[in-house]
Symmetry: D3
Subunit: 299 residues, 6 copies
């Protein structure tokens, strides 16, 4: 059993042996070649990204979303500084001076975590979502320290006009993010406002977003600072590693202790993580994406 973080490199393919368990991020939907190799060499591929709980949440992706959400406000606050073309606003204000305004588009894991830090740092925070139950839960937890709004077009335009920082947090794992912020929208925003597009790994939720890196994280379009770093959690590698491995370890130990067969009988989520085994593709989504025949795995 091999435990990794990233997909195997092409030069590692020849090392595969039949019956080996490869437990890592596989992203086979994006690499038919790897899928074919795993099948050809009868490698058992267990992918972090398809381990899925009964409520359809993805436990091995959640920690990365939590980290990106919390980082997003920290980054936005930094790039609001004058030096970087930002508005020169202190998010938390000081006594006698207005707080900065943060709009969080999306109230999922990323948005929830962005909101915690934004409220903590003293900003005036508005969260937009289309799910009334989410908004009510936020109201329970955060009370009058945030404003919640339905994510209607009118409300989105309103917050774009008002905000110093806009956090794009409307990503759904595995899907292209909706384009909520168009090029025209930028002209509504205040010069020096910052967009932090956490959805950049799914294409971004602003039309003007394009991936950047930790070493060159921002660029400016129409006077609006864009922070669109792909793989945001890499900035805090130590915390991210612990967060990820704490979760993957649990499933890994089940495999190691019980064997894959028993482990996947005992744990439905883990079973969904199995992509290939015995030369067959046993995950319906992956099979569909890669054009491979699907065959059910009976543990």
């Amino acid at each position: 059993m091999i435990v990794k973080v990233k997909e195997p490199l092409e030069e590692e393919f020849p090392l595969f042996k039949p019956g080996q368990i490869l437990y890592t991020y596989l992203h086979l939907a994006a690499s038919k070649e790897l899928a074919n190799e795993l099948i050809r060499r009868k490698v058992t591929g267990v992918a972090y990204e398809t381990i899925e709980l009964p409520d359809r949440s993805l436990p091995c992706l959640t920690p990365m979303s939590e980290i990106a959400g919390r980082l997003s406000v920290q980054e936005g606050a930094k790039y609001l500084e004058k030096e970087f073309g930002g508005r020169g606003i202190l998010l938390g204000g000081v006594p006698g001076v207005q707080r900065g305004k943060v709009a969080v588009l999306g109230g999922g894991v990323v948005g929830t975590n962005a909101r915690k830090i934004a409220v903590g740092i003293g900003a005036n925070v508005t969260v937009l979502d289309i799910n009334a139950k989410r908004l009510a839960y936020f109201d329970d937890i955060f009370g009058s320290s945030i404003t919640t709004l339905y994510a209607t077009d009118a409300n989105i335009e309103y917050v774009l006009k008002e905000s110093d920082i806009v956090i794009g947090a409307v990503l759904v794992a595995g899907e292209t993010a909706p384009r909520l912020i168009t090029r025209q929208h930028l002209s509504l925003m205040q010069p020096g406002a910052v967009i932090v597009d956490v959805a950049i790994d799914q294409g971004g939720c602003a039309e003007t977003s394009r991936p950047t890196t930790h070493s060159d994280p921002i660029y400016i379009v129409d006077n609006v600072v864009h922070y669109c770093v792909a793989n945001m959690p890499g900035a805090v590698a130590r915390s991210s590693t612990i967060a990820l491995t704490s979760v993957t370890l649990m499933y890994g130990l089940m495999i190691a202790n019980l064997g894959l067969s028993a482990a996947s009988r005992a744990n439905e989520a883990l079973k969904r993580g199995i992509n290939t085994i015995d030369g067959r593709c046993v995950h319906p989504g992956v099979a569909k994406s890669c054009g491979l025949p699907y065959s059910e795995y009976v543990a």
Copy 2:
């Protein structure tokens, strides 16, 4: 020793006897006639309103300011209702809908208490004051749940435009309240906004304020609802009575237990409460207001 709440009525004057201690609100500065009677009849007049602590605060007036401050938001919220000409806004909002906005002009006792209720009820609260230390203290206590602004003209205009309720809380006991809100200002305000002028007993801090009563508490000028009830604490008479007598009782018991002379030696604040004794006026401010000769009281 007679303990009352209100000043004695004219028909009660003949009942005064020399040496009696009359312990009540006296407001002699506003009634030379009463002052003269007390002096003529050698009544010892101890006035709640001039009992004064070393830090110049007035312990027998504070509870009434606390009550008026808390009530002010309750009243403002009520008269924001459509029925009364208000904007039809729910102060606390609900999930997905903006909170109402409350501006509190003044961060003294009234303003502090108004702010507590306004924050509690879920409004978006801004407090204006000219004292940076007060604003910093509010920031310590209330953190990011309120905005603090310096009470500059620009900021006052800004909050008048934005707010659903404006609380006039810039009163200083015994002085005429400053006129912060002019008639022109009303045109900046949103139709149906509410002014609660807690300073009405000192003349009000809006040019358009005039005293009203609990039975007919509001009127409308230029589409702005005015709540200007004089003696606001009367609305919650039970709470007000306990609040007032808890404080006055303490000083009253000192007089009763120790005698006035010893009590005023032991307690400087109480000593300042003595206005007349032995046919002399012994409070410098009262003497000046009533045109009476001042003579120091040596306990």
Copy 3:
């Protein structure tokens, strides 16, 4: 497609055309006549009040309950004033003086929102419910700032004796509210205490409740002030309109964008909102209430 808030008036019936979509509150169970018209004229009736999520909650009714819940405390606080026959108690107390006591009967949407405002305004709050999980959730969210009690007869009598305000919040949409407060109970209550019966639209949860209006909201029975305004959210019409339309708009746009058939395939909740189509009654509850034949709608 016609979007309204209230049911169509009788004089509007002749304007109906076959195939029209009428999207509004319909309340057909209460009006067989309207139901028959819709069927006869082959109007597609989509009713806000029967849109129902898988967890059986009613998303288009929730915002109104949230608003009524929050308003209820504001109203109770106001009518506790001496002027209206109330106890003359300030709900939030002041330092040195007891807070007022609020009992909230029922921990659903109305009760949850009542409690937020009651706690915020500084009252001593007790919430009663029969659901232990709800009480535990309240304890998580509100910690030691409220008391939770099981809604036993003994506890109800206990809180009636103690409370300044009792919020009747035990309504279940579409059902008659249980009569928790009998006429005899009133004698347990303190003179001048206030009952705010939010369940009045379902008949009220006090035996002595009868509907009142915003212009004449209260009456007194056995020294207890009753506030029983039907359609409470009307008091804050602006907030209520935004709250309602934010939710109904979402479903309305689905119909407009996808067509009713595709929209109701995509969204089970919306499908349940369809009461009549093509001259048939397709909602089982409505069919039963109106004595109409039920026929399933296959989108």
Copy 4:
């Protein structure tokens, strides 16, 4: 320079040398003999308990009061258990069950710290004090999670009747505590209620209090459990030692680094700590208590 915690024992007297600095708790007012020895042997006695800040607070006693205050609730909660004769009440309650009630008599350092723990542990807390400013500060800090009452006789009787735990926290360092709870009062209390008398080192604030020890901490009078351990901080010796030495060390280092003369010129509080020097008594209070001639120390 000798640094100790407790007073020197009689057998240590012969070890004293002229010019030595003895820096410890001295409590000379309670031991003329020690005072005479220090004078006779020309020892410089610097006493923790008379180091006094300009605002009259005693920095080396404060940490012990903080600890006793926090411990008091912990002890009260424990001895409320059935096993010890207590009422068998869980202070924090659980969802659906009433919280226990704690009354804290006195809002000084002990009372403030008691209140923090009592609120934290989930009790229903009432604080009584005669100082309106203290009550207002508590209201600022604790908001609606506590009730504040003026310490009138009526209110004391009220809380004795209602409370599960009564914390006697009305001590003033160096003075006999006032007797707020009489023997008759006990009959008002509920059987199994607990009095924690933190003022026991100053004689206790209950008539029925007598000092107990950590190994035998409680006794019962008239069905009321009394916890009256003298030297409460000894129970948590490790925390207490750090708390005390953190403060005394600061003054000790000043003496060591600057010499006593310069140190007491630089620090007025430290200067007040000097009780004896060069065969003279230089602290007016100590001189008076011990019947010694007072002579001013000019640093």
Copy 5:
């Protein structure tokens, strides 16, 4: 219908009559004899401990877990005192002195309630659980006032080293608790640290745990204080009784009002509470444990 708290005693068996409903804790899995009697005498046995909600929670056991969880911190704080062999640490610290550290192993009902009190009392609290969703919920509710960690071996060892109090809260009703703390682990702990093993009724989660009583609650192994009282809620009998009967009463009244048959048709949870009826064993788990034939109860 007989309502009790504890199982019937052997001498009570002859009093059983056919058709009687015995509603109490039965624990038949632990007593075949009682099971046989109930069947032989055709008694209807309804057991608190098998009433089970659709989400598999046990409503009649939850209140006892809540109480034990809250008590656990109170007990741990007490036995940290020097007198009992503890570290002599004040859990809440004081200004300038470190807080004590509490580790809570398990984030279920017991752990959640332990955490509330531990945070409230001012301790530095770490909660360990294997369920990421639980940890995220704690983070929502408690924010930065606690630390959450995955319950990996490394993290367990880390907290054992650091903590003053360890709360063993990993119990699952009806199952043997996992042994998370071995004898070797004790040597990692600080001398005078305290283990409160709330799981003792299920065998304890420390290898060195053995049941103790309220009158002799602790013992020391390898310098670590062990508090392992079986039936912890008995310490606060009054609160426990109310907590338990509030829940059991609700089901009891259903039986009394509707009859058992109708009640169990109306309420699935109650139906699962029926263990024996008409001489048959109708609960599959009980049947299996007692080796009795199972027969379904059709209400």
Copy 6:
């Protein structure tokens, strides 16, 4: 009257006219030349930095300290990222992962504001100060969300070892900051930890600190990242300008409205701001620093 922010430049000296009021930061102690010019040309110099309230606080410096304090945590969090040589730790942690640790050296204005943001962002915060009253106030305001420690050498070493970010906040306006962190201390710290030295304008509180700029803010010594930007508030120029001018405006308006003489009679703090007038130096500290004769200003 000329109002500026910075000191006048040398080329502006010839423009000075007798009797002009120059109201700006003057920092004459650092520039004898400017002092001489003002005196020679009989300019009235009113310096922001010497306006001083009766409690010795400096109202025109406070807002800058508030901003620097809040920024300090934001900057520290950013430079903890891997990219900049930092530890790669997310300050707020995520559920299941430890929070980062922040030590704030000094509990004055800078430290108080640093602490607010550090707590808000979710860090584990320790504040060190030598003033027990400050620590107690922090405990009142922040409760169990921070740890307070006395600033002893042992505690400073302890926090250097443990912390991810150390905020140097021990500055006293106008004095050289104490050197609390020596070069040797760096070896105690974790590789990649960050020092944010807010005291850099007063020389810094770390031996290895040297001023940096917003465009090149950090450098690394012994694996410890140093952020030592002089004039930190410049990063958020917009907020800083409002904060500063809100305060300076108030005093400026007094001068403009009343004339300097009357204004300085009415306001003692403003009077202390006058450094030069009529060719004389009227501020004792400035006179001493510049070797000029001092002459009292009688307004």
